[in-house]
């Protein structure tokens, strides 16, 4: 990761936020809603990109964590009269704590146990959301979720709420950008590339593994806290196991481990189905086929493809550096 590429990420994030701030002009309520949904989804995918793409851990509960965040925010803002910002922080903290509790026993055994444990957790969360009517409203869900008031400005309409989502997404993306460049980010990468070697260099494997998973899960909680006021009505269905798999697919399709990958992946996952809506019931099949085709063409996802093209354009003959053998 050269310094120039990382700065490119920063510039893209800020420029992208500026464009998206004004993008909905003339798009109407629905178009604006889809744009906001794209960003909210991207926040959840960003978290999973840290867990899976950077640290190499397989979590199958990202949508369940998003559900925890969405329900926590919905309950706190509708029933407990808590403001959105506090609900947002609590949602993230709740998912961080749940991540630690879940990860601790799973990661003591073997990193791949996390996949099984999160699989079970996904099912458990969904059952609680559906069956514990007294708390979650069951299949009827929770409605009339208020949108936040920011510095005295109400965000009830689509455009101000969209701009609010843009700002929060930008802040969350910048924090992650900073984290990945930090010594922790380096340790997370080492975890994915070679945990045995990392341990022999003093990297506390268990602590970093747990942190990567908990931080990634907290991002799902943040995404949930944005999702609830966006849709204003939540029920258990978007937080099923299949949704967790869908988020996983978005990480891989966008480019696992690339910092801008989640935005590309979420764009494919959210906007493409909207464009394919005219195909009726076929859109999911077409979407799946596109993703499979993409992954066959380039296992590194869209951003991997772009990077490959870019290096091909700029390739100069390498001097005095003949790659002989890859690391074992």
């Amino acid at each position: 990761m050269s310094a120039s590429r990382v700065d490119g990420v920063l510039v893209t994030l800020i420029a992208g936020a500026a464009i998206l701030w004004f993008a909905p002009a003339g798009m109407g309520r629905y178009g604006t809603y889809v744009l906001s949904l794209w960003l909210v989804t991207a926040v959840a995918v960003m978290g999973l990109n840290l867990t899976l793409g950077i640290a190499g851990l397989k979590s199958l509960a990202q949508a369940a964590f998003m559900g925890i965040g969405a329900y926590a925010t919905a309950l706190l803002t509708t029933k407990a009269g808590v403001g959105w910002f506090s609900a947002f922080a609590i949602s993230g903290a709740l998912c961080f704590a749940a991540g630690l509790l879940l990860g601790f026993p799973a990661l003591r055994v073997k990193a791949h146990y996390l996949a099984f444990v999160t699989l079970a957790f996904s099912t458990l969360v969904w059952l609680v959301l559906r069956n514990e009517q007294w708390l979650t409203g069951g299949v009827f869900g929770i409605s009339n979720i208020p949108r936040p008031v920011v510095f005295g400005v109400r965000t009830d309409n689509a455009l101000p709420f969209h701009r609010f989502v843009v700002a929060v997404t930008l802040i969350l993306a910048l924090i992650l950008w900073w984290l990945v460049r930090s010594p922790w980010g380096r340790a997370f990468l080492a975890l994915r590339e070679n945990p045995v070697r990392a341990a022999s260099l003093g990297v506390n494997i268990r602590a970093y593994t747990l942190l990567a998973f908990a931080i990634g899960s907290a991002y799902a909680g943040f995404a949930g806290a944005l999702y609830a006021p966006l849709v204003e009505f939540i029920d258990p269905s978007p937080f099923q196991l299949s949704a967790s798999f869908f988020l996983l697919l978005m990480v891989v399709a966008g480019g696992s481990g690339y910092q801008l990958g989640p935005f590309v992946g979420a764009l494919l996952g959210v906007v493409l189905p909207e464009w394919l809506r005219f195909t009726g019931g076929l859109y999911l099949i077409i979407f799946a086929a596109i993703v499979i085709g993409l992954l066959i063409a380039c296992p590194q996802g869209v951003l991997g493809l772009i990077e490959r093209g870019w290096t091909a354009i700029r390739r100069r003959p390498m001097v005095g550096n003949t790659p002989v053998k890859d690391a074992v």
């Binding site: 990761m1 380096r186 340790a187 070697r197 003093g202 053998k325 074992v328």
Partner: protein, 247 residues
């Protein structure tokens, strides 16, 4: 001279096979101990038992007199013991400099301090000094996975030196490294030994390398210690010649 490492009757069984079969030796502060022996005689397994990659079936490992048997690799490393593996183990997607910074970063401050404290704390400078020593300047920002095999091998060893360890265990550092690079490696080992008093245990097949570098040599055969002595004593030992140097 104080004893740094004591290995007492270490055994490691894989199923019915004893890969390491009751090995005992000590390492004194400031020495360079070579370990030689035919392929499959248990040298790498012995390292893994000493440094916590494997739990020995029986026996004790002591560091500065304290029992460290079964301690995990992270804790061994934080006690100032580092190592290389026989197979190359660099982080291919990180740059050469990032590999070295990673190798040093966990030895400074606390976890939270590493996140919120000053970002560098001299690590980049230390990494660049190491890069200079191994003459890898032109590759400092290159992906480690794109280096030649020999260059990666040097980087691997350099990573083990980053935290300023007092004891380093090197598993076949010279394998696949060309003569010039081998000279750099030997020079670095000797310098660290002389300047910082670092102690080394080196598994190696390259006899010239072992005999010119090491103060003592331990010979293993079939999981056991066959002989220990100065390079001259080992060269003259009939049992060693018979079992190893002969062919």
């Amino acid at each position: 001279m104080a004893t740094v490492l004591e290995v007492e009757g270490v055994r490691k069984h894989f199923g019915g096979i004893a890969a390491v079969d009751g090995v005992s030796f000590t390492v004194e502060e400031g020495e360079i101990l070579g370990i030689i022996g035919p392929n499959g005689c248990g040298k790498s397994t012995l390292f893994n038992c000493i440094l916590g990659q494997l739990l020995p079936t029986a026996g004790r490992v002591k560091l500065d007199g304290a029992d460290v048997t079964g301690l995990n690799p992270e804790d061994m490393n934080r006690r100032g013991v580092s190592r290389t593996f026989q197979l190359l183990q660099v982080f291919p997607e990180l740059s050469v400099r990032e590999n070295l910074i990673l190798a040093g970063q966990e030895h400074q401050g606390t976890m939270l301090g590493r996140l919120f404290g000053p970002r560098d704390a001299g690590l980049t400078a230390a990494a660049d000094r190491m890069i200079g020593f191994f003459k890898l300047q032109h590759l400092a920002d290159a992906r480690a996975g794109g280096l030649s095999y020999g260059q990666q091998k040097l980087l691997d060893a350099a990573m083990a030196f980053m935290a300023g360890p007092r004891l380093v265990l090197l598993d076949e550092p010279a394998g696949g490294v060309n003569l010039t690079m081998l000279g750099d490696l030997k020079e670095r080992l000797k310098a660290m030994n002389a300047e910082a008093g670092a102690t080394f245990v080196v598994i190696e097949h390259n006899m010239d390398f072992v005999m010119s570098l090491c103060t003592r040599v331990l010979v293993m055969a079939e999981g056991k210690v066959l002989a220990v002595g100065t390079p001259a004593e080992i060269r003259a030992n009939p049992a060693v010649i018979d079992a190893y140097l002969g062919h």
